[in-house]
């Protein structure tokens, strides 16, 4: 008897069809009653349905466990055991060569950061299901009707870590060919194949015709067999009940095209019955079976956005790295995720295709910071990430929670490095930057570096990692320390490219120690691009580098209609500085006026001018604060509205930032520190962001912990940052208990800290009841209190 894995390589397999509607139609289910309960209350109904599908021609039957999980049912183990046993017994009765799929459906919750369910908690819930079915005779695990890529990853990991069965995933796509959470087919295929699924595809929500385009995409990108399990057409109401608009023969006829295209596993979902499966098998049994063609696309992706390596050279933004960047160092030490997210978005705006992320500093918890940074940046930025660390434990933690398929920076030719990195890539999926160095160091010659690359390719293939998942970095060494350094690097890029291998370079290293670095960097980048470079690790805000890149694209015919060049090239003035276009006329507008009118760029430029003739303290105390006070007063008198206040606060905040740069070294303006958070269970953040902005504009040092923050973390931050004030926000009545608990804990552990609370559902009375020091009806109120207390 052949196993599932053997059979999908040599024949088309047929899944069974729908369950719930059929059981309802037969009177076994009351309205709203979930089918899984029948495993206990009416097992014969389930057993007989399995037999019917097997006799109709299904090769794979799904256990009646779709809606069961440990969060939903206390007796989930019993329900799962019964469900699997019924399917196995039916299979043994009807068709010894039939296969049983442990059916796992979605959890009905959204994972953080979109929702509030923690990724590892989701993995744990799925793991409970897999463990409950252990040893009962299932032949594969089917994760189906998933509409969020992150949830799919959690389920696959749970299955892979708790059993040795093959894992198949089918997802629910919208009519736009994307998942509800935003991932497209390329991202889905890259992520799931990276995790090692045995087959993947689409089910539910649509009929065969509506699925066709998505199935075409799946077949174009997938290297594993593709599963297609549609509904019986579209639903309509037939006076008393919902029916689907395709008959069994119409359903079967509309599946023929997708089978001919190469769908390797087919069946049905909602509305389909054994008649549909029988018709499907009859209509398609003589169509020749075709295995998916091997494809050599190299993709990395985020939760929403996939990028293909090797089509045109790509840019990896390098600014999220503390080396040589004091502001990033400060952000990491202060756990300022907002700064890191802002840098991520700025690089996205500047044209980066991928972002490098490194949190390695001697005096910080690199692993914890890396995981937080991955989580927070992925919530706001669509670009795939390059996880950059020298530590195996940090790499594993980041790759585990990453949603999508990352770039991994890096592996090298030493045995220790390859033994650490390749198993992680095999488990979690990823494309690896491979440095052409090993235990002996960096070879001085082109051939020496190529030899290391060959060694790495061979070892990777022993781990089952194809060379197309490797990107070789021949290491750009400073020309100041060796005349031939650039020549060797460029020669290695060319040689590796000629061997069909991808290459990357950290461009700016070449000019280290020399003047006018930008000049040399952009010339080196051009030379490397013409030599076949695939990934350039650069600062995308550098006009010289971006101009060199865009020029290369145009001149090499990779920029159709010169569109990217026209849209992106940065004009340089005679002084070499980039001319910034400003829509605002800064003539005769004072700093105070700029703040009152909310002219952010003008406020910044006017403040810089004032710094030439005034001290920072003078500008802050005599110009910025009075202007803000004027705006704040008009807001309180309801002469202007919140958007105006916010724009003014943004302008003041920008000016404040400029003034702070001019404080004499070692001197600091005495600032109060406020820790801000939205309480546990609440994922709103707009009110908190408004408060943050207004407090920052008044010169407070704000530590923003984000949303859905447990009380313990708020207390810990209040102690660590020695905050003067803690500001708590809640927008829902259901999260008020969390606010009460947080205040209680703060008063017990940090009694000297003042607590301000606010949010749409709060009242002054409730604030007093829970022991808060002040109820702020709006941000200005809060600032006035904080300034005086």
């Amino acid at each position: 008897m052949y196993s599932f894995l053997q059979r999908i390589k040599k024949e088309r397999l047929y899944f069974d069809g729908g369950t719930g509607a059929l059981l309802s139609a037969r009177g076994f289910l009351r309205a709203g009653e979930p089918p899984e309960l029948l495993n206990i209350t009416n097992p014969d109904a389930i057993y007989n349905l399995h037999l019917e599908y097997l006799r109709a021609g299904a090769d794979i039957i799904k256990t009646n466990t779709f809606g069961i999980n440990s969060r939903k049912y206390d007796n989930y183990k019993e329900l799962i055991e019964r469900g699997v046993s019924l399917a196995v017994r039916a299979r043994d009765e009807a068709k010894k060569e039939g296969l049983v799929a442990l059916d796992i459906g979605p959890l009905g919750r959204m994972l953080s950061p979109i929702g509030d369910l923690d990724f590892e908690v989701a993995v744990g819930i799925f793991a409970d299901t897999v463990r409950a079915a252990e040893g009962l005779g299932a032949d594969l695990v089917l994760v189906e009707t998933i509409s969020d890529l992150y949830e799919a990853k959690a389920a696959v990991l749970a299955a892979k870590e708790n059993c040795s069965l093959p894992v198949v995933v089918t997802l629910t796509f919208g009519s736009d060919g994307k998942l509800m959470s935003g991932a497209d087919v390329r991202g889905v295929v890259a992520t799931l194949e990276g995790l090692g699924v045995s087959a993947l595809g689409i089910n539910c929500s649509q009929g065969p015709k509506e699925m066709q385009r998505t199935v075409e995409s799946l077949l174009e990108y997938a290297t594993v067999p593709v599963v297609v399990n549609p509904n019986a057409g579209l639903p309509r109401f037939d006076r008393t009940k919902t029916v689907y608009d395709l008959s069994p023969s119409e359903f079967a006829a509309s599946m023929v095209g997708m089978v001919e295209m190469g769908a390797g596993l087919v069946g049905g979902c909602c509305g389909t019955t054994p008649e549909y499966i029988a018709a499907l098998k009859e209509a398609t049994k003589d169509i020749p079976f075709v295995m998916p063609k091997k494809k050599t696309r190299t993709l990395v992706c985020s939760s929403t956005h996939a990028v293909e390596i090797g089509k045109i050279p790509l840019l990896v933004g390098e600014r999220l790295n503390p080396t040589g960047k004091p502001k990033v160092k400060a952000a990491l030490r202060g756990e300022d995720m907002t700064y890191l997210c802002a840098e991520a978005l700025a690089q996205y705006d500047d044209g980066a295709d991928i972002l490098d992320l490194n949190t390695g500093l001697a005096d910080v918890d690199e692993k914890s910071l890396m995981c937080r940074a991955v989580h927070e940046i992925q919530a706001v930025c669509d670009l795939p990430l390059q996880i950059d660390t020298a530590r195996g434990d940090v790499l594993e933690a980041a790759m585990r929670i990453y949603c999508g398929k990352p770039l991994v920076n890096s592996v090298n030719g030493s045995e220790e490095s390859m033994k650490t990195v390749f198993p992680l890539v095999k488990k979690y999926g990823g494309v690896v930057i491979a440095l052409t160095m090993d235990e002996e160091g960096i070879p001085e010659s082109v051939q020496g570096r190529v030899d290391i690359a060959v060694k790495i390719v061979k070892r990777a293939e022993e781990w089952g990692i194809d060379r197309s998942e490797l990107v070789f970095d021949p290491l750009a060494l400073a020309v100041a320390s060796g005349d031939d350094n650039a020549l060797v690097t460029l020669g290695t890029v060319k040689a590796l490219g000629d061997m069909g291998l991808y290459t990357s370079l950290g461009v700016s290293n070449v000019s280290f120690g020399l003047p006018a670095r930008a000049v040399l960097n952009s010339a080196f980048l051009s030379a490397a691009l013409w030599g076949g470079l695939d990934l350039a690790i650069v600062n995308p805000s550098s006009a010289d580098l971006m101009n060199a890149y865009l020029s290369y694209l145009v001149l090499s015919g990779k920029d159709k209609g010169c569109e990217r060049y026209i849209g992106g090239v940065r004009q340089l003035s005679e002084s070499g500085a980039t001319e910034k276009k400003s829509r605002e006329n800064s003539d005769n507008i004072t700093l105070e006026e700029a703040i009152v009118r909310g002219l952010v760029e003008v406020a910044e430029s006017e403040c810089r001018l004032l710094m030439l003739t005034h001290s920072a303290m003078e500008v802050i105390n005599d110009r910025i604060i009075p202007a803000l006070d004027r705006v704040g007063k008009e807001f309180e008198e309801k002469k202007l509205y919140l958007p105006s206040l916010l724009r003014s606060a943004e302008a003041a905040s920008r000016a404040f930032g400029v003034a702070k740069e001019y404080f004499p070294k070692g001197e600091k303006r005495a600032e109060k520190t406020i820790v801000l958070a939205t309480v546990k269970g609440d994922i709103h953040d707009i009110g908190k962001n408004i408060v943050k902005l207004v407090f920052e504009s008044y010169g407070f040092n704000v530590v923003d912990l984000g949303r859905d923050v447990p009380a313990e973390r708020i207390v810990e931050a209040a102690k660590r940052y020695r905050s003067d004030i803690v500001g708590l926000s809640a927008l829902m009545t259901t999260t008020l208990p969390a606010m009460a608990r947080t205040v209680e804990l703060l008063k017990a552990e940090c009694p000297e800290v003042k607590v301000i609370v606010g949010g749409a559902v709060l009242t002054e009375r409730y604030a007093t009841e829970i022991g808060a020091d002040f109820y702020a009806s709006d941000a200005m109120c809060g600032v006035r209190y904080a300034t005086k207390n």
Partner: protein, 195 residues
């Protein structure tokens, strides 16, 4: 939606067809420039997947307690709204998850832009609800829509509406542990039908 007799219908809406109440929006957004509103409005439209689901459902009342969506609801305010009705329309409308992500990312760029985008989105989801009512109004005479959280109607009824309409499957609606519907720009409502 003429001659709709029952069951559940799901409709997707193109963003640029949604009418918004400009007067109400102007009040909330007073002080933001037209240019800013226009830029953010276009970005918001780029990020929405607007859709609604409507389901005709029976409602009954015994001794002041309503039965709807297979549950008993004690709400004197809802009782007044559906008084005299044997059926209601259960409405679920959403702008999708991509918008949640976009608004959240604006919080990193600019609190003022985030505020404007959020206010625009509130107006848009109300616009989608209005469109659904106009659509259903071609088949039935309707009263005013009433949402969980209004008056004394518990917020938790929203989850029952989503379950009864299978909007978790058709629109992707989920709930957090604290009872917040996701995507955040999601409205559930009960609309009385006067036969």
């Amino acid at each position: 939606m003429k001659n709709w007799t029952g069951g559940t219908r799901v409709e997707k809406i193109k963003g640029n067809l949604i009418r918004i109440d400009h007067r109400e929006l102007a009040t909330r957004l007073g002080g933001s420039t037209e240019e800013m509103q226009s830029i953010i409005y276009n970005s918001v439209l780029d990020n929405i997947s607007a859709a609604y689901s409507v389901t005709l459902a029976p409602v009954s009342e015994v001794d002041g307690v309503l039965t709807l969506c297979d549950r008993e609801i004690k709400s004197s305010d809802l009782l007044k709204v559906v008084s005299g009705c044997e059926r209601v329309v259960l409405l679920v409308a959403t702008l999708g998850f991509a918008l949640d992500r976009y608004i959240f990312s604006l919080g990193v760029r600019s609190a003022s832009m985030q505020f404007v985008a959020d206010a625009l989105s509130d107006a848009l989801i109300e616009g989608v609800c209005d469109m659904a009512e106009v659509d259903v109004g071609e088949s039935f005479k309707l009263g005013n829509r009433f949402s969980p959280g209004y008056g004394d109607l518990p917020l938790s009824v929203g989850r029952d509406i989503v379950n009864a309409t299978r909007s978790d499957a058709s629109l992707g609606i989920r709930y957090t542990d604290s009872g917040l519907a996701l995507p955040k720009k999601t409205v559930t409502a009960i609309i009385p039908v006067f036969d």
